[in-house]
Assembly symmetry: C3
Homo-oligomer: 350 residues x 3
């Protein structure tokens, strides 16, 4: 019997199965500093204990997407080591703030299975939950991945496809953001004068700046998240593969786009929910990432006078500035430079 983890194949999953993932990870100021160095994020709440305390956080919380990446990374060895493709995310909610010193773990439940007609692969749907060592849930989200079958002849399971929400209901938002003292919000320090009421539905915002990605950077990031997907690290094998090079972890693009979005969304300080996300095309080292966002909805959250919620669609491109808001061609297909289509709720100070 081998002692190495071969990863699960499609036949290894059953609806209702619960998988507790290795390795718990204490998130520290070391991780948050590296996150700053990797993306250059400038949101004041996550950057400054003093700013966070001035609006009634106990201290600067860990960036929401760092929490996401750490939780996601734990699921990789069990869920997607043999994945052909990461197909999508839905129904993601941030449920409690995370602070340096908190230890994060993850558990996943298989909520859907569907063999593909080619009989070689199937789609696995999991709901993954991240929690602290005291049991506090900090994040849950659904993702679905295409996974290889071990044996083409294995019988197909009864197909189960979960019904997933298009978007999180606004009243389910905000658990990971304490009630803040919005009267003490210092717009000079936050870097933006635009509050919740200043954003209009349909408004498009070019985030202007571009960020070129190096191999060392995405490898450092992905290892920091203990994400073991082979395609990100192994040039020897990938050099002989479909692209001839290492693929950059899709979450790296999400974090780059979010950091770039500070320029235009500086007061949208908290990612409260991930409605959906698709990695439309791969990113490679040497490419330059740009981003733009559109406001899809603006919602009040019951009981919250301090913040409102903007539903944002953030599009990231490679090697194409976004002043003309690139998205689809005349036939409705994504333009070739589009790499990410990400739909999320951000909380914005009122």
């Amino acid at each position: 019997m081998t002692k190495t983890n071969p990863g699960n194949f499609f036949e290894d999953f059953a609806v209702g199965q619960v998988i507790r993932h290795a390795t718990p990870r204490t998130v520290t100021v070391g991780d948050t500093a590296l996150y700053s160095a990797l993306y250059g994020s400038r949101f004041a709440v996550q950057s400054s204990d003093a700013f966070a305390q001035s609006i009634d956080y106990p201290r600067a919380p860990v960036d929401d997407l760092l929490v996401f990446h750490v939780v996601f990374g734990k699921t990789v060895p069990d869920i997607s080591l043999n994945a052909v493709a990461n197909l999508g995310y839905a129904g993601g909610r941030f449920l409690a703030p995370v602070y340096p010193g908190d230890t994060l773990s993850a558990v996943s439940e298989v909520i859907g299975l569907k063999e593909n007609s080619n009989r070689k692969t199937g789609v696995v749907y999991v709901r993954s939950t991240g929690y602290k060592s005291d049991g506090t849930e900090v994040l849950d989200y659904v993702r679905w991945v295409m996974v290889n079958k071990r044996n083409e002849a294995s019988p197909a399971p009864d197909p189960v496809v979960p019904v997933l929400p298009d978007a999180i209901d606004p009243d389910a938002l905000g658990d990971a953001c304490p009630l803040i003292d919005n009267g003490s919000w210092d717009a000079d320090l936050s870097g933006s004068r635009h509050r919740f009421a200043d954003y209009a539905i349909g408004e498009c915002i070019d985030h202007v700046d571009g960020m070129t990605v190096e191999e060392a950077e995405h490898q450092l990031a992905t290892r920091l998240y203990q994400n073991t997907a082979k395609v990100h690290f192994n040039q020897f094998t990938e050099g002989q593969g479909r692209f001839g090079r290492r693929l950059i972890y899709g979450g790296h693009v999400i974090s780059l786009a979010r950091a770039l979005s500070f320029n235009g969304l500086g007061n949208a300080f908290h990612v409260a929910a991930i409605n959906g996300g698709r990695h439309v095309a791969p990113l490679f080292a040497g490419d330059t990432v740009f981003a733009w966002s559109q406001v899809l909805e603006a919602a009040e959250i019951e009981g919250r006078y301090d913040v409102g919620a903007l539903r944002l669609r953030t599009i990231a491109t490679k090697n194409r500035p976004c002043s003309d808001f690139p998205l689809i061609d005349g036939e409705g297909r994504y333009l070739p430079e589009v790499i990410l289509d990400f739909d999320y709720w951000a909380l914005v100070v009122k």
Copy 2:
């Protein structure tokens, strides 16, 4: 109205104007570890809590240049986003030690303006001050940058050019260095037997070692400082520009030169003041940085039996070792390999 920050143009500045900058930043041991990894600095006071405590610091202070870069980074979006060139620094003083956990913010006052004769650009002089969340000032310095005009036809302001000191007066030094117990200074651990009295005015020191810079390294550094200058990050745009490549943040060179200077200046443990600095030529990834220093002055500081001040001129080169102290050619022009001419006061244990 756009929500993205277009940066200020020459017309947007007025003498006396005060700008409070975003984003406050809590500096942590995560940042100091990254600073070590980026430059390999070996000064014992900043490297070891135990060493620092043995000479009466409460703990290891944050490296002075890390403080400088964080404060500098904050000023970029407001001062130099549309800058053509960073022309120089003067009159910089470190005013209080910074420890992990301190939150740094910055404010700048416009102290000079002068339109250039081409009417397309002008020079903006600012005094920038970094301070902690309790208001303690930790650093102030003057820099001047050449900034584009929005409109060539805009009228020129009355020229105001501040009188800047050639060097900080020695008696103004030392506020960022507590009185130390120099009798407990352990020369084995500090890595140098040379104390203040061992340095002679005019003495030149080759720092010997060379350090090659990679794209990932300077990008990590510059994002860590939340410095948003586009030229450092965007290969897509820079590839079409003057150099065809990303420019490395000048401050990265200062930190490299300072770290290299440990070899010869190991007991010059604190940068107390920046008298002036010029980035003589650009540095690009793949280049190897070398450095040498000359002792310009040696000064006692009133009331300080523990430390003396050396005024040092540190020259950094690219792709040229410094055993022959390269600087200028026969006509007084900088040699092509010289990239930095930096004049500062360092405190040295007596």
Copy 3:
């Protein structure tokens, strides 16, 4: 007299000589986060305070090899700055756990000297000890290096070659691992179901995954350890040298192999001793590292019901997967892809 450190030459060493090294270094969660980002290690004890506490550690200890690299780095300016080659390690023991906040220093004693027959170089044997600021010893090990003579005509010292153990005695293991509550060991969280008794002597384990190394990564690592060996950093000089490129610090390979070994050795959570190690061939940026291990011995440790010791031989290769356990050719020579042959004791939960 020069103020720069020229390093010691063979003539500068004498048997019995004791050298206290600069620079003491406080290891923090910033360093451990960087260590994670550089290697992607996933051992639960070092990754999670909560996991560590659940088995009776006071908190997550610093990774053993990070301790090794920091101690090793300090010895470089005094021992191996003029080394031609790092010939080997032996007799390494981890003596006390290290936690974030501890300050590490190092001292070396010269225990052997032998001039080579070419009269140009000699071998220097040192026992280096790392200790905390309170004097607690955390690590000691022997290494021997080939060092240049300053002057070929210098007389040879009487040769002294220390007798070194093939391996550390099992009863000398375990001082750096507190007695753990192995009944609380959570195999889901640790990522492995294989306990001490599950490993058989002679068993070979392919660690499967490959990791490509970038210049920026090994430079960040080696500077983090304040290791000043010139060959790792200076492309200007190395570009004109034997390989035409920078050499990667051998310790970087050890840490990569150890991190890869999680896949198959997930419960071998502590490196207790380094019996020996050889850097068989150089590694360069762009190469992909693979690894496999063989169980050489399995030993009980007196007084320890909680853990057993496995003596492991870990082989790292470049650009060659290890499913066929590559090692030597038909004539007993290392295969050209083998870069590391490392013999150590790991503690494994019972």
